[in-house]
Structure formats: C-alpha cells, structure tokens
Symmetry: C2
Subunit: 250 residues, 2 copies
DNA sequence: CGCATAATGTGTTTATTTTACACATTAAAC
DNA sequence: GTTTAATGTGTAAAATAAACACATTATGCG
C-alpha cells in the first residue's frame, strides 16, 4: 500500500468544464511549466552496478553530482528526448529505455517550475567508452551515492527500485552484458542489481530451464582461471514464450 | 523486453551545458508545453470492474467518452492536482492514488502540446454516490470500452495493466470494498481485476495464511442465501510483514 | 613439469508452494 | 419441511524453490 494522501485545500471548485479555446488560452498565457527529461543510465563494471552522472553546474548544488537531463523541445516526443540525451552523452542508440515516472514537486528546480519525466536505461560500459566528458561525466557506484543535486537522489532511488522489479520479470540484464557472456557474468549482473547473493547451481538450473540461453560453443578467453562456456540470449524465443503471471503474492 | 527505440534524427548536438539563466529564459519564453493530470478512477460494482468517464466536450471527439482530467496550475503539486480532480468529480478524498506514467505524444491534444501525468485511483462505488453528474459522468465496464477521446484508451490500458500488476503484490483491492466484507466479495474483486476465475478453497487458504484478515464475528445481512462471515483487513499487520521478493521469474 | 589454486560444471534430496478436487453445512425461498 | 444455492472445510499430487558437495579443468607458480 503506497499512497493515502489528503486532499489539498488549494482548489475546490465544482467541476468546471473547459472549452477548447479556454484551454488554448491557458496553454499559451497562463501555464508556465517547463518540461524536462532526466535519464538514469545504469551500467555494470567490476561486478558493480553503476550510474552515469555529471557535476552539477548550478551554484546552489556546487560540488554535487546530477543525472543527465535536458529540457524537452515543444516539438519533441518524450521518448525522443530521452534517446537524444542518451545519444548526446554516450554516443549510444538502440538501447533499452523505459519511463519510470514523473517528478514535479513545486520546489524541485531553482529556476522555476520544471517537471521532469524520468527514463532509465541500461548500457554495457565495456563496449561504449564515453566520448564526451564535459562536466566530469563518469560512472559511479550506485550503492555509494548518498546525495545528488535537485531531487535526483530520490529519482535515482525510484529508478533503481523499478529496475529491481523489472529485472525479475524481464530479461533486461542482458543489456548490460556483451552479446557473448558466461553464466558467471550473468549471475554477477543479477547479484549486483538485486544486491544479493544467489546459489550458483540453482541459478544455472533456473536459466537453463527457461531455455533462452544459446550455447555458442565458445569459451572465455584470457581469464585467469578455468574458462567458462559462452552463451547468447535468444530474444525471439523469449518473446514467444514469455509468461503471463496471475497470482496473489503480497 | 519493452522498448528498443531508434534515436531521433531531430537533434544531435554535442552535450551543451546550460546555465541557470538560459534555463530560465527557455522556461519563460521558448517552451510552450502545457501540463495536465488525467485520473483513471476504478470502481467495482455488480462484480465488474468499472471506470469513471465523462462525455468529451470537444467537437473533434464528439460522442466519445473521456477520462477525468484538468490542467495543473503552476503552483500546484501533481499529486494535489490528481486529488483535486478526484474530489471535484466524486467528492472523495483520502483514497489510494498512484501515478501511472506520463503521456506526451506531440499530437495527443488538439489544442497544442499537452503532456499528461496519469494517476489511477480505486474507490468504492457503493459508498460514494456521485454528486456531480456534469457531462454524463458515470461508471462504465472496463472491459466494454473500445474507444475513448484523445489517447485515453491507451491511457486506460496502461493504467489497467498497472492495476493488475500492483494488485498482485499490494492489498489494493480492499479500497474497492466496504470495511466489512465477505471472502466471496473479496474474491469477486480479484476475479474482476485480474479477469480470471480462481478456486474458492485455495483463495481462502491463501488469504488466511497471509493472516491479514480479521474475523469480526459478524455475518452478512440480507443476502439471498446462507450469509458468510465478515472480515476487516488489518493494514498495520500488513505493513509490518510485507515481503521483499527476490527471484527471477520471466 | 607438476603441484597448488581457483573457478567451472553437474544431481539429488528436502522443503515449500501451488494446484486440483468433493462433500457436509447453513440459511433463505417456496 | 423440502428444495436451493451458497458457505465452509481438508487432503493428495504436482510443481517449484532451496539447500547442499564433489569432480573437473585451465591457470599460475615454483
């Protein structure tokens, strides 16, 4: 159970139905609300879940880190804006990107009313070295972050929770890995995201039973121990078989 | 796996960091984006899941039904706006209210760029007769709805999916019932929301095992059959015991 | 070259959860 | 008082999840 909110005193008129022209007027003259998109870009490296941050350039938040965001152009789709920000910062496209929710507290931005639609994304750090390092752009351990500019800590927490929920029902984790990966690497990703340890044998059993892993008959190279087998994830097979779960499980 | 979007050609400048004053200027002069909140208000009656709709008053959508929404005032919190709309339309406060996501397609509103933050809510129809019936406000069977004004069908679908997911992990269903309810009524709510049939014995076993139901030692009155026992839901106990699930389950 | 090291790869048993399923009981309706 | 229709209850089978140990293989080092 999440939200039981009191009703604001703020307004309590009876339902007033607006005509199109009234709405047009309000849009053009009355409302002064800016729209931005913030991206929570998760990565995975050294067996840890990372998030991409820049140094905030606002005096008010001097020294603090912040998420990647930008205002949305009036003729720009929300998803496009998220993709644009990701592309501008990382050079990446064609990655998993999902809306989390929208943050709109009155005082969240010092410049005025800015509401922010938040997206998260997962990218493979190894395969996409950052090319633009403005504002000290770099990866931070998710679990080391205690404070961020704006309400970005809250945004990060929400996004991380959503990631944790989603990764348990959808094969997101593969976005963080190279196309070929070992089972140990896969398990490391899950352990990092869910912040837990799993039994290796049960983990393998579970994934093999799902039958989405393709044994590509190759072994790891240049690892300082016995090499493991490498696998691909078969997205087509997953799409065909993904389950619809109906149950009650508080 | 949900979204694999191509990057828009639209913009591709390198990351340009904005100063506060540039942002202020953009907010005040450039962006012309209006913000609204739409509420998907679910109810339950005659063993069916219902949603509250009004007749659209826009020519473009003549005859179509639409969700309850309104523009957000510049000095109004998003949650407050959702609560206000609910209160204006139903007279209700202190109900479960949750943000779903934000819809912002360029062409979604004929009056211009309006992005809409969507909330859903669950209310007990029996205990809150509608007082304001402007625009033919009334309850519709969720499963009978095929077309709505704007992108409201898509919004309804998203909200319904979120409701279905959430109700399986949180005790939302009780918002749709009176404080005292029978197990059959509870099961009817779940069957309506999840659009499925469940085994009565297993359902009872499951809920009693959770140990959140309080037997209030009363029986149903005025039912045309053997009366069932009545129960309360113990929210305090739930809050203390609610589980954190870690697993993988595609 | 061989030995120590460290990670891979594999099965079985037990416990828990879920599903399937049938009959006696109670109050209302006639 | 007989019929009706829903409540209330238990058990067995199946599926899923959890716990757990040892042999194998390549590397690294002496």
């Amino acid at each position: 159970m999440k939200i039981h909110m009191a009703v604001p005193k703020h307004k309590n008129q009876s339902a007033n139905i607006k005509t199109l022209s009234v709405i047009e007027t309000e849009i053009n003259n009355i409302n002064r609300i800016a729209l931005s998109v913030d991206c929570v870009i998760f990565g995975f490296d050294e067996n840890k879940l990372k998030v991409l941050l820049i140094r905030s350039d606002l005096k008010k938040f001097q020294g603090l880190w912040s998420l990647l965001g930008d205002l949305v152009a009036p003729d720009e789709e929300l998803d496009s804006a998220a993709n644009r920000i990701l592309k501008e910062r990382t050079g990446l496209d064609d990655v998993y990107l999902e809306q989390v929710k929208t943050f709109g507290a009155l005082n969240r931005h010092p410049a005025g009313r800015v509401i922010s639609v938040v997206y998260y994304s997962l990218i493979n750090i190894q395969h996409h070295k950052l090319k633009i390092l403005d504002n000290e752009l770099h990866w931070h351990d998710v679990n080391d972050i205690t404070e961020l500019a704006f309400d970005h800590k809250q945004i990060l927490d929400s996004s991380y929770e959503q990631l944790q929920r989603r990764v348990q029902e959808h094969p997101l984790a593969f976005s963080l890995l190279p196309k070929k990966f070992s089972l140990r690497e896969l398990q490391n990703v899950y352990e990092a995201i869910l912040d837990t340890k799993m039994d290796r044998r049960n983990f393998r059993k579970k994934f093999f039973a799902m039958d989405f892993l393709v044994d590509i008959e190759q072994m790891e190279q240049d690892v300082p121990h016995r090499p493991g087998k490498l696998y691909n994830f078969n997205y087509n097979k997953y799409e065909k078989k993904k389950k619809k779960w109906v149950g009650i499980d508080f």
